[in-house]
Amino acid sequence: MNDPVTPMAVLTAADYKSSYKPIWCPGCGDYTVLSSITKALAQLQLPPHEVAVVSGIGCSSRIPAYTNCYGFHGVHGRSLAAATGLKVARPDLTVLVTGGDGDGFSIGGNHFMHACRRNVDMTYIVMDNHVYGMTKGQASPTTEPDWDNKLSPGGTGIRSFHPLVIALAAGASFVARAFAGDPNGTANIIAQGIRHPGFAFIEVMSPCVTFRPEQREWKQLVHTAPVETTDDPARAARRIMTDDGMNIGVLYEGQRKTYAARHSAVPQDLADFEREFEI
């Protein structure tokens, strides 16, 4: 006789949140990004124990502690390296990587480019506020060159890093821009990124109200991208390079073989693993 089947409870966004309360500044965009991540996971009904959230260092890198999923709060700039290892070893897990612009594009800049190249199936969510918030307001790679403050009087004068174009050029197969003030839209983009087979890069404009209070104006400036998602990287790059930086949506989605599809299965025991190194 078959056992009666107990219907599985529907997971809600709250089921993915831990009991730890965020310590971000009130007004920080990272609150809604956390909410968008949990909404996306609920949308996809992924069991929390089948999801791992990996981060580096910085305000936004605190996210793993605020979720009920497996988490790894790692070394500064090395979140993608840790996440890559995890996904290759445990392809059954859904791997999300979270962090900020300093962690991802400066300290972890090299890992970012090579993660895009490898196209491991994971989703990288960068909360970009154009500043190092945790260390009190230094210019980051995405800071505008003329942002004047006491730590860089008159601005750094250095051209801003353009993560979306770098991601495209390096081979990311899903590139999107989202906005923290649009938590439902951001949740949809994150869900699309998770569903996408390959490396999905999502830059979320997440205002830092403490060190960049002028970013409160972003909510008046952002708008949905007026064009459909393209699968042509050259077209996507041209659009991204010439837009006003306020377009939100999935800007590029291509089809490129994932790392797993190009490599054999992960060795199941040590002997198999050793054989791979035999000369």
């Binding site: 309360k21 500044c25 609150y31 809604t32 009190k136 403050n149 006491k150 938590p183 839209g185 909510k219």
Partner: protein, 171 residues
């Protein structure tokens, strides 16, 4: 108005979602204020979350729903990025006072009132129009309640945001 609910059920599901989002945001604010030891404002946001939660339960009871209905495939259509009764995340400050919190609540209730007014005008069925007008009237009442509450709290001094030990030393 991006999408006009066609049936009473769709309309009330949207109204319920609006209340749920407001609860979520006020709760986020309350938690954040507690973390920053602004207990008075934290309590106020917690109270607001409680009120919005009651409105949500009222809608469910009126409709005889045991569970919240699932949102439509493309999500609900709001005039902006979020439901009108949701205060944008970046409009709070760790030193804000009850007066500021009530100003935010007032803005949210006024947006909700306008939203239902617009829906009532655009409604294509009598049942949706009646319900929208009813909810508009409720939101108008809430506006007046918040105004009455505001009259009881002190207006902040001009230097309310001055922190003798500021988080930023860059200016």
């Amino acid at each position: 108005m991006s999408t006009m609910p066609r049936t009473l059920e769709d309309f009330m599901a949207q109204a319920l979602a609006m209340e749920r989002e407001a609860v979520e945001r006020y709760t986020e604010f309350a938690d954040a204020m507690e973390m920053h030891n602004n207990r008075e404002v934290a309590t106020m946001f917690r109270t607001m979350a409680g009120y919005e939660g009651k409105h949500a339960e009222q809608i469910k009871a009126e409709m005889g729903w045991k569970e919240d209905p699932a949102p439509p495939a493309g999500g609900f259509g709001w005039p902006g990025f979020e439901a009108p009764e949701t205060v944008p995340i970046d409009e709070v400050h760790y030193l804000m006072q009850p007066w500021h919190a009530l100003q935010l609540a007032l803005g949210a209730e006024q947006r909700a009132e306008t939203f239902f007014g617009e829906l009532a005008k655009a409604a294509t069925t009598d049942s949706v129009r009646r319900a929208a007008l009813e909810l508009q009237a409720e939101e108008r009442e809430h506006v007046e309640l918040v105004r009455a509450w505001l009259a009881k709290v002190p207006t902040p001094d001009g230097d309310w945001a001055n922190d003798p030990d500021p988080p930023r030393y860059t200016d």
